[in-house]
C-alpha cells in the first residue's frame, strides 16, 4: 500500500467527551475549539439551543448535543474542562457544548462500523458509525442532522 493510499484510507477526527462517552466529528467540520464564554439564553428558542455566544464579534448559537441528538446520559455540569466545539456545517457556524475535548485521532476508515451493529435504534439516527479502537468506542456523529429542521419534524412525528 502506497503512502497515498494509506492517507485515503484514513481520516482525522476530533474526539470529545460527553457524559462519559467519546464522540467524534470529522476534523474538516471543526473550525476551532474554545473555552465557553458567557452564554446568553435565547427566549423561546428550542430546548436544545443553549443560547448564543460572541465569537469575535459574531453571534453564533450553541447547541446542547444531548438534547439535540437524544444522546444517552445527562449533560454534565460545566467544569474547567468544558469546551465549545465550533462547527462549520453547510455554511452555518454552530457551537456544540462538550464536557471535554480529548484528542485528535487518525483512524483507518476500515474500523468504522455501521451504528446498528452496536447501538440500539433510537440513538443511531444521527450517527455515522462507531470506531472501535481497542477497548474504546468512539461514536461518530452525522453533523448534517444538526441543522436540518426537517429531521426534527420527522423525529417529532415519529
Amino acid at each position: 500500500m502506497s503512502e497515498q493510499q494509506v492517507r485515503e484510507a484514513e481520516e482525522q477526527i476530533v474526539v470529545f467527551e460527553l457524559s462519559g462517552e467519546s464522540y467524534g466529528v470529522h476534523i474538516g467540520s471543526v473550525q476551532e475549539i474554545i473555552r465557553p464564554p458567557a452564554i446568553t439564553a435565547v427566549p423561546r428558542a428550542p430546548e436544545y439551543v443553549q443560547g448564543v455566544i460572541n465569537l469575535r464579534g459574531r453571534v453564533i448559537p450553541v447547541v446542547n448535543l444531548h438534547i439535540r441528538f437524544g444522546l444517552r446520559g445527562e449533560a454534565g455540569e460545566a467544569t474547567r474542562a468544558s469546551r465549545i466545539v465550533v462547527l462549520e456545517i453547510e455554511g452555518h457556524t454552530i457551537g456544540a457544548a462538550v464536557d471535554a475535548v480529548s484528542e485528535v485521532l487518525r483512524i483507518p476508515r476500515s474500523i468504522i462500523e455501521p451504528p446498528g451493529a452496536t447501538l440500539d435504534g433510537e440513538q443511531t439516527r444521527h450517527l455515522r458509525g462507531i470506531a472501535r479502537l481497542g477497548e474504546r468506542l468512539v461514536i461518530l456523529l452525522e453533523l448534517g442532522h444538526l441543522i436540518h429542521p426537517t429531521e426534527i419534524a420527522a423525529e417529532m412525528a415519529a
Partner: protein, 702 residues
C-alpha cells in the same frame, strides 16, 4: 442580446456620467417647463437633447441618437416659438425621456432591452410638424470669423454599417460647427439609407484640420476631404490668412469627453483646461463596491464594541489601581483609541450616505402623472433634499414614501372645484421634507388636502367589524386617526388605481418598524395631513436602552422608548386578567419581559420588590409598558443577526454585543406589542366583545 458599442469601456463610463446628467436636466426641466415657459430653460433642454444626440451617436448608439434627434426637433420648435409646450407635448417628451432612460440602461448593462421606440419617435416628429430644423438652418449665413467648408467623408465599402459611420461623422462635424447641408441628410442616414459617401456643408470657426481629424477618427472612414467654399462675408482678411490656430488635441479631447455645447464657443485653451480638470476630478474618485463598504462598517462596528469593552476594563482597573502612572498612560492611549474609532465610525457612515434626493427625485414625475390622471392640480415641493441618509435606509424609504404620496393624491387632495369652494387655492401642494433630528432622519409628507376625519374612521371601523360602536366612541380623535394603521383598514370609498386596495398604511407601518423606524400622522380637517417617518441614520448601529431581567440584559431600541418609569409595585392593578398601571391618567397595559421571554411559557420567578421599573414603549399601534428588573443604561449598539437555523425567536429582533463581550438580545418592540394586541383581541373576542387592542383599557385604576 448583448450589445457592443463603438467605444472603449472608459469612454462608456464617461458617456454614462454625461448622459445621466443630461437625462436629469431633461426630466427635471420638462416638469418645470410645463408650469412656466422660460427661454433659458428651453435653451438648456435643447442643449441637453443635442448633447445626448451627439454623444450617443459617438458611441454608436443609433437608436438613442434617433430619439434624441426627434426630441431636439420638438424642442427646437419650442425654442423658436413655433410650438407651445402643452401638457400633451410634455407628455410625449417625457415618454421619450423614459425611453432614453431605458436606452441608457442598455449602455450600462451592455444588453439590448428590446424597447420599441419607433412610435415615440414618430409621435415626436409629428409634433415637430415635420419641420426640419436643418431646412431653416440653410438660410443661416456665416457669422463673423466663420468659414464655410465642404467635407467629403468616404466610408470603407466593406463596412457593415456605412450609414452609421457616416452618421457618426456627421455628428462629429455637427459638434464643431453648423451643418448647413448634408447629403445624405441626417434623417436618411438614421433610417440607414446610403452613407458610403457623405457630403457635408458646414460653417465653423474651426480650422479645416479640426474637421478633418474629427471625421477621420470615426472607425471605418477611409478618407476625408475638406474644401473651403467661401469665407463669411464679414470675416476679416487677416483671419483668412491666419485661421484661428487650434491644436488638434482639442478635437481629440472632444471625442473622449463631450464638453457640452456651452463650451463649444470657448477657446481651445479653455476647453482643454476644462477637460483636464474633469479628467483630474474623475481620476481622483475611486469606485467602491457597496459590499466592501458594508464589510468595512461591520469591522468598524467591532471596533466600536471593543472600544466599549476597553473602556469598561479601564474603569475597573482604575478603581483597583487608581493613581498608577503607567495605568494613567494606558488610559490616555485607550481614550485616544476610542476617539479615533468614533471618528472612523463617523467617516465610514459618511461614505455610505446618499442625499435623500435620490429617493425624492422619483416623485415629481409620479405626482405629475397621477395628478393628470385624477384631474387634480398639484404642486410638488421638496426641502432638505441634500440631507444625507444611509444607503441601507434609502432602500427602505422608497416604498413607504411612494405609498404615502399616492394616498395623499388619492384621498387627501380634493378636486380643484372642491378646493375653490372651500376657499383654498385651486392648486394643491405636496411637500416632501427631510432633516436630521438628533440621531434620526425625519421625513415628512405634507399635503394641504381635506385632512382625515376621525368620525369617518370610527364609523368605518365599526362598519368593518373591527370595533364595537361603544369601543369606537371611546377613542379620542388621535386614537381614531391612528386606526388607518390597522391591518386591512381603508377609508377610501372606492378602490382606485391610484392608491389601490386598502392594504397600504399598515404595510407602510410594518415596513418602517421593521427597520426600527416609526411613522405617525398629524391631520387637521380641511387643512391637510402630515405623515412623519423617523428612521435611524443607519440600520447597523442604533441607540438603545439596556434593561436587566433577572440575570440577563436585554436591549430595547431607543426609537420605540417613550420614557422609563419607576413605580411602586403596589400601584400595578389587574384589569380583565391583565396587569396595567395608570400613568398621568392614562392606563398603560404591562408586559413582564421575564414572563414573555421565559422558556416554554413557564412563569419566571417574580422579583416583587417595593419598586418596579417600567419602560414605556410606543409603536404605531399602541403603547405598552415593559416591566423589567432594572435599568442598565443607554448606549449605541451594533445590530447582529442571529442564525435562524433553529427557528425565529418571536419578540427578538437580533442580538448585540455588550461592553463586557456578552451577547444581549434586542427586543422586537413592534412584534411584542402586536403579539400582545392580537392576544388581547382574541381573548376579548372570546369574551364576545370586539374592541380596540391593548392601548386603551380605560378605567383601569378602579
Amino acid at each position: 442580446m448583448p450589445l457592443e458599442f463603438d467605444a472603449t469601456d472608459s469612454d462608456l463610463v464617461l458617456f454614462l456620467e454625461e448622459a445621466a446628467a443630461q437625462l436629469r436636466v431633461l426630466s427635471d426641466g420638462l416638469l418645470v417647463l410645463e408650469r412656466e415657459s422660460d427661454a433659458q430653460l428651453i435653451q438648456a433642454l435643447f442643449r441637453a437633447a443635442h448633447t445626448l444626440k451627439g454623444s450617443s451617436a459617438t458611441i454608436g448608439h443609433t437608436r438613442m441618437a434617433s430619439l434624441t434627434h426627434a426630441m431636439e426637433s420638438v424642442l427646437d420648435n419650442v425654442r423658436t416659438g413655433a410650438l407651445t409646450p402643452t401638457s400633451s407635448v410634455i407628455d410625449s417628451l417625457l415618454a421619450a425621456v423614459d425611453a432614453l432612460n431605458v436606452l441608457n440602461g442598455e449602455v450600462e448593462t451592455r444588453t439590448e432591452s428590446g424597447i420599441e421606440i419607433d412610435a415615440t419617435i414618430a409621435q415626436l416628429h409629428e409634433i415637430a410638424g415635420r419641420k426640419e430644423p436643418a431646412a431653416r438652418r440653410k438660410h443661416t449665413t456665416a457669422q463673423a470669423g466663420e468659414r464655410v467648408y465642404e467635407v467629403e467623408v468616404v466610408v470603407d465599402p466593406r463596412s457593415d454599417w456605412p450609414a452609421v459611420r457616416a452618421y457618426q461623422a456627421l455628428m462629429e462635424l455637427t459638434a464643431l460647427g453648423t451643418v448647413v447641408d448634408s447629403s445624405p441628410s441626417e434623417q436618411e442616414l438614421q433610417s440607414g439609407e446610403g452613407g458610403q459617401t457623405l457630403l457635408v456643408t458646414i460653417t465653423t470657426t474651426r480650422a479645416a484640420e479640426s474637421l478633418q481629424t474629427a471625421a477621420a477618427a470615426i472607425a471605418e472612414v477611409v478618407s476625408v476631404a475638406v474644401r473651403p467654399l467661401a469665407a463669411a462675408p464679414a470675416a476679416k482678411r487677416e483671419e483668412k490668412r491666419e485661421p484661428p490656430a487650434e491644436p488638434d488635441e482639442s478635437a481629440d479631447e472632444r471625442r473622449r469627453i463631450d464638453l457640452g455645447p456651452e463650451l463649444r464657443g470657448a477657446s481651445a485653451e479653455e476647453q482643454l483646461a476644462v477637460a483636464g480638470a474633469r479628467m483630474a476630478r474623475l481620476s481622483r474618485m475611486v469606485k467602491v463596491d457597496i459590499g466592501q463598504l458594508d464589510e468595512m462598517l461591520n469591522l468598524v462596528g467591532e471596533l466600536v464594541i471593543d472600544r466599549g469593552r476597553l473602556m469598561q476594563v479601564m474603569r475597573e482597573l482604575d478603581q483597583r489601581h487608581g493613581g498608577d502612572a503607567s495605568l494613567e498612560h494606558l488610559v490616555d492611549v485607550a481614550q485616544h483609541l476610542a476617539r479615533v474609532s468614533d471618528e472612523m465610525q463617523a467617516r465610514v457612515m459618511d461614505f455610505r450616505l446618499l442625499p435623500v434626493e435620490s429617493v425624492f427625485n422619483r416623485f415629481p414625475r409620479m405626482i405629475r402623472d397621477l395628478a393628470r390622471k385624477s384631474g387634480k392640480a398639484i404642486r410638488y415641493e421638496m426641502t432638505g433634499g441634500d440631507t444625507g441618509i444611509d444607503r441601507s435606509v434609502i432602500d427602505e424609504l422608497g416604498d413607504p414614501l411612494l405609498h404615502l404620496i399616492r394616498n395623499a393624491i388619492d384621498h387627501g387632495i380634493e378636486l380643484p372645484a372642491e378646493r375653490v369652494e372651500a376657499g383654498k387655492p385651486e392648486e394643491a401642494e405636496i411637500v416632501l421634507s427631510a432633516q436630521h433630528v438628533e440621531s434620526q432622519i425625519m421625513v415628512e409628507v405634507t399635503d394641504d388636502g381635506r385632512g382625515i376625519d376621525p368620525a369617518k374612521l370610527r364609523a368605518a371601523a365599526v362598519k368593518k367589524g373591527l370595533l364595537s360602536q361603544e369601543a369606537a366612541n371611546r377613542l379620542d380623535d388621535d386614537e381614531a386617526i391612528n386606526l388607518i394603521f390597522m391591518p386591512g383598514f381603508s377609508s377610501a370609498a372606492q378602490v382606485t388605481d391610484v392608491s389601490g386596495r386598502g392594504v397600504g398604511m399598515d404595510i407602510v407601518r410594518t415596513n418602517i418598524e421593521k427597520v426600527n423606524g416609526t411613522v405617525s400622522v398629524r391631520t387637521e380637517l380641511g387643512i391637510g395631513t402630515t405623515f412623519t417617518i423617523r428612521l435611524p441614520l443607519t440600520l447597523a448601529i442604533i441607540r438603545a436602552l439596556l434593561v436587566r431581567v433577572g440575570e440577563a440584559v436585554f436591549t430595547v431600541p431607543l426609537i420605540s422608548v417613550q420614557e422609563t418609569l419607576r413605580i411602586r409595585s403596589d400601584t400595578i392593578h389587574t384589569v380583565q386578567g391583565r396587569e396595567v398601571v395608570t400613568v398621568r391618567e392614562r392606563t398603560l397595559p404591562l408586559v413582564r419581559l421575564a414572563d414573555l421571554f421565559s422558556r416554554r411559557g413557564r412563569s419566571a420567578e417574580r422579583d416583587d420588590g417595593e419598586w418596579s421599573y417600567v419602560v414605556s414603549v410606543r409603536t404605531g399601534r399602541a403603547d405598552l409598558g415593559l416591566v423589567v428588573d432594572g435599568l442598565v443604561g443607554e448606549q449605541e449598539v451594533v445590530i447582529k443577526s442571529i442564525d435562524t437555523t433553529f427557528g425565529d425567536s418571536e419578540g427578538i429582533a437580533g442580538a448585540t454585543i455588550l461592553g463586557d463581550g456578552s451577547v444581549s438580545m434586542i427586543v422586537d418592540v413592534p412584534q411584542v406589542v402586536d403579539g400582545l394586541a392580537a392576544k388581547v383581541q382574541s381573548e376579548l373576542a372570546r369574551a364576545g366583545q370586539a374592541r380596540m387592542p391593548a392601548a386603551h383599557a380605560q378605567g383601569g385604576s378602579s
